[in-house]
């Protein structure tokens, strides 16, 4: 198997506060292979976006990467000097943000924004960059691309703007794109179009995607593997079908249970009692233990590591195995 395009090991992100450092990401590890789509799900505040921000090297003060390693195509990037990391951004890692309405500079023509990005990363002349810009807009499905270069962002609809954002992220053919809730701010009908577009682009370019979302439906449609995050840690990670179909971590099971239509129809829509702890108020042992209905003594004392269960890995001392699940029915 070829080495992963992105490899994150024991990532720790901390925020300096009045009361000392606050750990927002606590020992996250995962790999993404070439052309693979990894979905990252979890409640808001679980650290999904922050993980993406850390990978692209844009964690801002008072936050900082306090531990771990990030490797991109075999090269360690979390320790790169500022300017070299800047060259990596856009060139090797692209990023798409949640809200297309605020992601584009409102005062600059989208053509200029594209050309500027292309010329930052390649030696293209302005004319070449312009041709590439037209090509990119066509590729993301913007009609009359050549004329639209002269338009300002406010002249596009939300869905069209997200296409422009995607074109900008793809400008220098990155190996991996981090898509942070790319469809959340869009209408449902437009969401499907953008998902289809992302799917086509990964297929055509062999590009890897780290897809951050809280929408399991989106994950089910497009992702190859999925990582479930809880309170700054990965609770479970594995192929989408296994994680959705046979979750081992009680939190994953709860998350699936709270989504209508994903599991069997007769199962009642469940709600996980309580709320996810904030960073700084995370209990010792397993972060999920106060809300877990399978909690055992060990969960309160010892933090579980990810260990393999079938095709997936889960961080749980009392995982749901098929036998116990069936016995419970």
């Amino acid at each position: 198997m070829s080495p992963p395009v992105l490899s994150v090991r024991d990532l720790v992100v901390e925020f300096a506060t009045r009361k000392g450092p606050l750990r927002a990401i606590d020992g996250v590890s995962f790999d993404i292979a070439r052309g693979e789509v990894l979905g990252v799900v979890g409640e808001s505040g679980a650290g999904k976006s922050l993980t993406g921000t850390a990978v692209i090297g844009l964690v801002e003060a008072p936050g900082r990467i306090a531990g771990g390693e990030i490797h991109l195509a075999g090269r360690r990037i979390d320790t790169l000097p500022k300017d070299e990391m800047r060259r990596v951004r856009g060139k090797q890692i692209g990023m798409i943000f949640q809200d297309p309405l605020t992601s584009l500079d409102p005062l600059m023509r989208i053509g200029d924004q594209l050309i500027e990005t292309i010329q930052t990363h390649t030696a293209a002349t302005r004319a070449q960059a312009r041709d590439r810009a037209v090509h990119l807009l066509e590729e993301v499905g913007i009609p009359a691309a050549a004329e639209r270069l002269m338009a300002h962002p406010h002249q596009f609809s939300g869905g069209m703007r997200q296409r422009v954002v995607i074109a900008l992220a793809l400008a220098a053919e990155p190996d991996i794109v981090i898509a942070d809730e790319p469809t959340t701010a869009l209408d449902v009908s437009v969401q499907a179009q953008i998902i289809a577009l992302l799917k086509r682009l990964t297929r055509d370019h062999g590009m890897a995607v780290m897809l951050i979302t809280h929408d399991m439906g989106v994950i089910a449609q497009i992702a190859d593997r999925v990582a479930v995050m809880y309170a700054g840690r990965i609770a479970e990670i594995g192929p989408v079908r296994d994680v959705i179909g046979r979750p081992h971590h009680p939190y994953t099971a709860g998350l699936m249970g709270s989504i209508p239509g994903l599991r069997s129809e007769h199962a009642r829509l469940k709600q996980i009692p309580g709320a996810m702890p904030r960073p700084g108020a995370i209990p010792p042992g397993c972060a999920f233990n106060p809300r877990c209905d399978r909690v055992i003594e060990r969960c309160r004392a010892e933090r579980p590591d990810l260990s393999p269960f079938g095709h997936t890995s889960a961080a749980c001392h009392a995982p749901i195995s098929r036998e116990t699940e069936e016995a419970g029915r």
């Binding site: 844009l58 800047r86 856009g90 990023m95 605020t102 992601s103 005062l107 600059m108 930052t120």
Partner: protein, 324 residues
């Protein structure tokens, strides 16, 4: 877009009419024009004749219309104190004030914007913090104290620069300029610095806070995520996006520069409109006050209109929606 501009133009005219009515009220009712114009020994019959001649017996709105009509023809009546047409008095002093205001604005903008950008980008640097602390002192010091301080330092103690007046001026017919002589330029330095310092700190603080604001936006984060250079992000994207509010404030500040010129002109005995105005306030010389009020409001409203036009060049969104 034209409708928007027409509406703005209409609003501007409305403001000017309101100001003219206020000026007329001042002129007509605050102090009796006749008593101000003639001595104690003039007979009542004489006064009545003068009153008729001046049209003070006509209906009020006729008087008001006449007042505005005259003002439109640059006729603001006669100064009580100087016994000269107000237009001549102001005309002789306008160039001095405009040159002072111009020099002060250039000083404030040319230094204020770069400092604001710098302190905005490196918000936690030692230099930025020092600059911000000093700027708070600049905002807090009354203009006249700054002027006095500068005079004491550079005129009284060091004898480098003159402490009062305009120096030699070159008369270009309708305009007496101090820009063309060495002594004129030297005389300009201290007053222009005094007048511009306050605006400089304002411009700087505004640019800084706008930069901080813009640097937090999603599109700047997206620029960073695309690997654009800091230079491109700061100057091509961030600075441009700060310009709308900055241009507004700078426009308004040019208005207040003309108002603050009153103080600077008093400190430096600069022979401009402000000095004339303050003497008018001291002497309750209403025609000069009324004329000054109208003239400055024309300048302020004009600047506001120009600022509005500049928006259209900076921000494409306004071209469509009419406003932000």
């Amino acid at each position: 877009m034209p409708t928007h501009l027409i509406r703005r133009l209409f609003e501007a005219v409305l403001v000017l009419v309101v100001v003219a009515v206020v000026a007329f009220t001042l002129f007509r009712f605050v102090g009796d024009p006749v008593n101000q114009m003639v001595g104690q020994d003039v007979s009542i019959a004489e006064r009545e004749r003068l009153r008729r001649e001046l049209g003070l017996d006509d209906a009020l709105f006729v008087q008001c219309a006449r007042f505005i009509w005259n003002a439109l023809h640059f006729d603001f009546g006669t100064s009580y104190k100087f016994r000269q047409p107000v237009t001549d008095l102001i005309g002789a002093r306008l160039p001095a004030t405009l040159e002072l205001a111009f020099a002060a604005s250039v000083f404030a903008i040319a230094i204020g914007i770069p400092l604001g950008v710098r302190t905005g980008i490196h918000r936690d640097g030692a230099l930025s913090k020092t600059i911000m602390a000093v700027s708070l002192i600049g905002v807090s010091l009354p203009t006249f104290l700054i002027g006095i301080l500068l005079i004491y330092l550079f005129a009284v103690t060091l004898h480098w620069l003159p402490s009062y007046g305009r120096g030699d001026v070159v008369n270009l017919g309708f305009w007496a300029t101090g820009f063309l002589t060495g002594s004129g330029l030297r005389a300009l330095i201290l007053p222009a610095t005094t007048l511009g310092l306050f605006q400089l700190t304002l411009v700087m603080r505004l640019v800084r806070s706008e930069m901080l604001e813009v640097l937090r936006t999603d599109y700047i984060r997206f620029c960073r995520a695309r690997g654009l250079t800091d230079r491109a992000i700061h100057f091509r994207h961030a600075l441009k996006n700060t310009l709308v509010p900055v241009v507004t404030i700078i426009g308004l500040q040019i208005g207040s520069i003309i108002a603050f010129a009153i103080i600077t002109e008093t400190v430096f005995q600069w022979p401009g409109m402000g000095l004339l105005f303050i003497q008018a306030v001291q002497n309750a010389d209403i025609p000069i006050m009324a004329a000054y009020l109208m003239l400055t409001s024309v300048i302020f409203v004009g600047i506001n209109l120009v600022v509005d036009l500049i928006y259209h060049f900076i921000d494409p969104r306004i071209r469509v929606s009419g406003r932000l």
